[in-house]
Symmetry: C2
């Protein structure tokens, strides 16, 4: 950040009075420009013991597989963000999605939230941000061609829970970076 | 937003190619300036069937009572944000905080996360953002002097669960605005 988005003057990095962290502060109008983590919301689409993945048609990680997910927008809920992204990337809807996992990734200032739910629409083909979509059993997951570590981690935890818990599992796994904080059953 | 924070030129509101929402886009360097929801993380500090609240020493809602909470910063986890804010506002630490509630408030583009946990430090006095701190039983909660609706809602849900569930309750309540999506037990 070089310039104030309010008045166009230069910003300087300084700790505002009463604050404890350096911020970008306008040298003219003294506006403080805070920067905060972003939420990435997505879904784990389930059907007949398989999971739907999308092959990315955009950078980063063009051509690799991922769960449908994307940045939460202003004026929506976490659930709406997750289902909107799933519709945009995979053209599907889910029945009663429930929160499965929350990951904090502090070094990139992101918080991931994944909802799980059964696909309840026809699978017609990929959205514009995906090259293709496909259903994978646990044995078929393309582990070496997944786009992001958080997707691998989420899928590993998902299948671990499939093995260890019955269909009544309804909970959230809260992770922060590489430390498991809490599991809810 | 009036000016590009990268090059200082004017921004215009337009839908970038491949996008579906209007963004602030620089008229010169064409940088796209996304705006996303912010996370507010906080705690429900418990001690002897009472909850610690803080009376706000800052605007908005100066003088009203709240749970310790604040904006999550870059490069921290949701848990760290919650416990940092609790230290800053109430000078206390909690034993093994666990996520209790997540609220999406779309009309102000905020997502609240509250962790519950037992106070395991001495209660010495308020932090600089609080006028005073105090412990309240359910009957003593100053319902008419709470700072924010999300605090009232969280406390109501908290006490409801205290009545309906025993001490083994360990779960999260996921709310979006005024619709209860999911409860985990």
């Amino acid at each position: 950040m070089n310039y104030c988005n309010q008045c166009g003057a230069s910003v300087i990095r300084s700790i505002p009075e009463g604050d404890h962290l350096p911020r970008f502060v306008c040298s003219e109008c003294h506006s403080i420009h805070y920067e905060n983590p972003r939420i990435i919301a997505g879904c784990i689409p389930e059907l007949d013991n398989k999971i739907l993945l999308c092959r990315r048609a955009i950078e980063p990680k063009y051509g690799l597989w991922t769960l449908p997910a994307g940045f939460m927008e202003n004026n929506e809920t976490t659930l709406l963000a997750a289902t909107r992204e799933t519709m945009e990337e995979a053209n599907i809807t889910l029945e009663s999605p429930s929160l499965f996992s929350i990951f904090s990734i502090p070094h990139i200032s992101q918080v991931y939230m994944f909802y799980r739910g059964t696909i309840n629409s026809a699978i017609t083909g990929p959205g514009t941000e995906s090259l293709e979509i496909a259903l994978f059993s646990e044995a078929e997951i393309p582990w070496n061609d997944l786009a992001f570590p958080v997707v691998s981690e989420t899928l590993k935890l998902y299948f671990e829970h499939q093995h260890n818990h019955d269909a009544t599992f309804n909970g959230a796994i809260i992770k922060t970076n590489d430390q498991l904080i809490t599991r809810f059953y």
